[in-house]
């Protein structure tokens, strides 16, 4: 308090000098700086280590849970994203060497590893790796050249969202959103991979909607262009915008979804429901990854171990209505959440909502590549 008062006094003293000479001003500024410096020194002891993290808003809650940050003397600095791709941008634009931990959609890991954006993870340093859902640990996409690049920590699906007050019947198929009654009331989101995860299967009937021929990929994009031009209210920038649109009664059904949208809409007073249509949908699994040259890698491992331990997993699952990966945390969850994510039959859940890799980097003469997908997706964005 005293130091603060001194700082204010110095400011007032400076402001009183109506005609400051340059030397006088510099002297005053130096004095002020000295006072401010002393003031700063009296702040509560600064944390020893500043750790930077990037991920979706809400994903930081398990990190903050318990006494982990205090125990390890960490000054936690989160950066929230609007899309997974934003993390890739930020890492490439100077984030390498400054970021300690990120959360990332598993499908992007091979590309990011190939692009030199990630550090390989030593499973021996992740004590509870063996407690995670084996189906997730077995995913090839969390590895690149036989090295692990991500630790699975939450999952969910991309269901069809609908406003029960605005639909005559619960949609059974993705194609139901094209019914005349929903014209101009369909919500789309500019989520490149998400749209492919959903519509790749819905259009072609293939279980892996991301592994398509170039002709099939073009058909999928044509279908999405038709929805965008003739049925959609808007091609929203984020899932948050979609939740807002539901809350404002601007849309009735969606061409893509995320369980979290229902949570956000509910916070705005709107009841939204979701369903996995008969064609199935995409499933997402987000991983904890250590960016290349992360400055505090030992602490990054500690943070990973904390986040996937049972209590923080419970905190995350209950606050975000999300799926978690540590099987030892499942008994701690409320029954309705256990039922919703069908932990007793994850294989069954994965039949309806499928984990899919990103399209391959190199063309093998059959399957459209990631670059093919980006070029086609640009056609949708331009439409």
């Amino acid at each position: 308090m005293t130091k603060t008062h001194s700082t204010f006094s110095a400011i007032i003293e400076l402001s009183r000098q109506s005609a400051l000479s340059r030397r006088g001003f510099l002297g005053g500024a130096a004095a002020l700086g000295a006072v401010a410096g002393v003031g700063l020194q009296t702040n509560p002891a600064a944390a020893a280590t500043t750790m930077t993290w990037m991920g979706w808003q809400g994903y930081e809650t398990p990190i903050k849970s318990g006494s982990f940050l205090a125990d390890n003397d960490i000054d936690f600095q989160p950066t929230f994203i609007a899309s997974n791709e934003e993390i890739i941008t930020k890492l490439q634009a100077g984030g390498i060497g400054k970021t300690d931990l990120i959360t990332m959609y598993f499908g992007y890991l091979p590309i990011m590893a190939e692009g030199g954006l990630l550090e390989p993870i030593d499973p021996a340093k992740v004590a509870q790796f063996g407690d995670l859902v084996p189906q997730f640990n077995a995913q090839q996409a969390i590895r690149f050249k036989d090295q692990l690049y991500g630790v699975p920590w939450n999952w969910g699906s991309l269901p069809l969202m609908y406003d029960p007050a605005a639909v005559s019947a619960v949609p059974e198929s993705w194609m139901d959103i094209k019914k005349p009654e929903y014209k101009g009331k369909v919500a789309m989101v500019d989520d490149p991979l998400g749209n492919l995860l959903v519509w790749g299967t819905a259009v072609t009937g293939k279980p892996m909607g991301t592994l398509l021929t170039r002709e099939e990929l073009a058909k999928v994009i044509d279908e999405l262009i038709d929805i965008k031009k003739n049925h959609a209210r808007a091609f929203f920038a984020t899932y948050g915008d979609m939740a807002d649109a539901f809350a404002r009664n601007e849309v009735a059904v969606s061409a893509i979804g995320w369980e979290a949208v229902a949570v956000w809409a509910k916070a705005k007073g709107k009841e939204i429901k979701y369903v996995i249509p008969k064609e199935g949908t995409g499933m997402f699994m987000d991983c904890l990854c250590i960016p290349k040259d992360a400055p505090h890698q030992d602490l990054s491992y500690k943070m990973i171990n904390h986040v996937i331990s049972p209590e923080p997993q419970k905190v995350f699952a209950t606050e975000q209505s999300a799926g978690i990966t540590n099987l030892k945390a499942v008994p701690l969850l409320p029954p309705e959440l256990v039922k919703s994510y069908n932990y007793s039959d994850i294989d069954g859940f994965m039949q309806k909502a499928r984990l899919q890799p990103v399209p391959p980097s190199e063309y093998d003469g059959t399957v459209a590549t990631y670059d093919d997908f980006l070029t086609e997706y640009a056609r949708l964005q331009k439409a």
């Binding site: 997974n84 791709e85 934003e86 890739i88 941008t89 490439q92 634009a93 992007y108 590309i111 190939e114 692009g115 030199g116 101009g184 789309m188 500019d190 490149p192 965008k228 959609a232 209210r233 808007a234 091609f235 929203f236 920038a237 915008d241 404002r248 009664n249 601007e250 980097s361 980006l374 070029t375 640009a378 964005q381 331009k382």
Partner: protein
């Protein structure tokens, strides 16, 4: 005013004083820009940039994104024209018509600069939305029976939002030019029989040329590079900046993104220079 020439600045006493600013300019502007120019001729293999000299990125930009480039330039041109026209009329009103209320109007203009960019976008989303103020007023007045959906998520919404955002930036240079016009000059023209319209056309407009140019330049260049506003109020109407961002992010293709940036930059500069020449010719006729 006589400006010192370059040699005097470098050899004279000003050189040490200029050095910090020059270093900042070099490090924060010139070197990054030149780096991206060099990148635009490189190639990418397995997500990693490789030094090269290829024009393929420029060919790709023109063939794949020529339509978006033209649409972006047209949208930005419309926004710049509307903004400059409104800014001119507003500045004229402040300088020559508002009398003692002029300063207050200028203050109100400056106040709008304090609002954040995203805050303004979300404000317009609320104003133009189905349950927004405009639809509410139209419903209340009985002009419409149900809310209009076309007010937002359209090209018009982009023009309105960006025009609002850019208006203060355009008003300031034009008002600055008009403040430098002596009242005597306008009064002399009126005394010699000029109507208010012809005095405005023959005296005020030519003498405001520099301010108009700066206002147009600011409005055009800011809107041509913008991609946030179209994403949030355009409902999917994308401008070139969005596709450039894609190349730099999950496209892992900085060379292509750089080529797209320099194509946009060079065509924008060509349009700005052409507009300046046309304006100058028009004002001298």
């Amino acid at each position: 005013m006589n400006l010192p020439n370059w040699r005097d600045l470098v050899q004279g006493r000003q050189a040490p004083l200029l050095a910090p600013a020059a270093m900042l300019w070099l490090m924060l502007f010139a070197i990054p820009l030149l780096s991206f120019l060099v990148f635009s001729f490189w190639s990418v293999k397995t997500r990693i940039m490789r030094p090269d000299f290829t024009l393929q990125n420029y060919v790709f930009t023109v063939t794949e994104y020529g339509d978006v480039l033209i649409a972006t330039l047209v949208t930005a041109f419309v926004i710049a024209c509307v903004t400059t026209l409104l800014a001119y009329l507003f500045s004229y009103a402040i300088r020559f018509r508002a009398g003692r209320y002029g300063d207050m109007l200028l203050f109100i203009t400056l106040i709008t600069l304090f609002g954040g960019y995203l805050v303004k976008i979300y404000a317009w989303k609320s104003i133009l939305g189905r349950d927004g103020i405009i639809n509410g007023l139209l419903l209340w007045a009985g002009i419409i029976d149900e809310p209009l959906g076309i007010l937002i998520y359209s090209q018009g919404a982009i023009v309105i939002t960006l025009t609002y955002f850019l208006l203060p930036f355009a008003v300031l240079p034009i008002y600055g030019s008009m403040r430098a016009i002596p009242d005597d000059l306008v009064e002399a023209a009126r005394d010699l029989g000029a109507t208010p319209f012809s005095a405005g056309r023959d005296i005020i407009l030519p003498l405001s040329e520099r301010g108009i140019n700066v206002a147009f330049l600011l409005a055009f260049l800011i809107s041509v590079g913008d991609y946030v506003t179209p994403r949030f109020v355009g409902g999917g109407a994308s401008m070139m900046g969005h596709f450039i961002e894609t190349q730099f992010s999950f496209g892992f293709n900085w060379p292509r993104g750089s080529a797209m940036s320099f194509t946009l930059l060079s065509t924008s500069l060509a349009i700005v220079i052409a507009c300046r020449v046309v304006l100058r010719q028009a004002l001298r006729q």
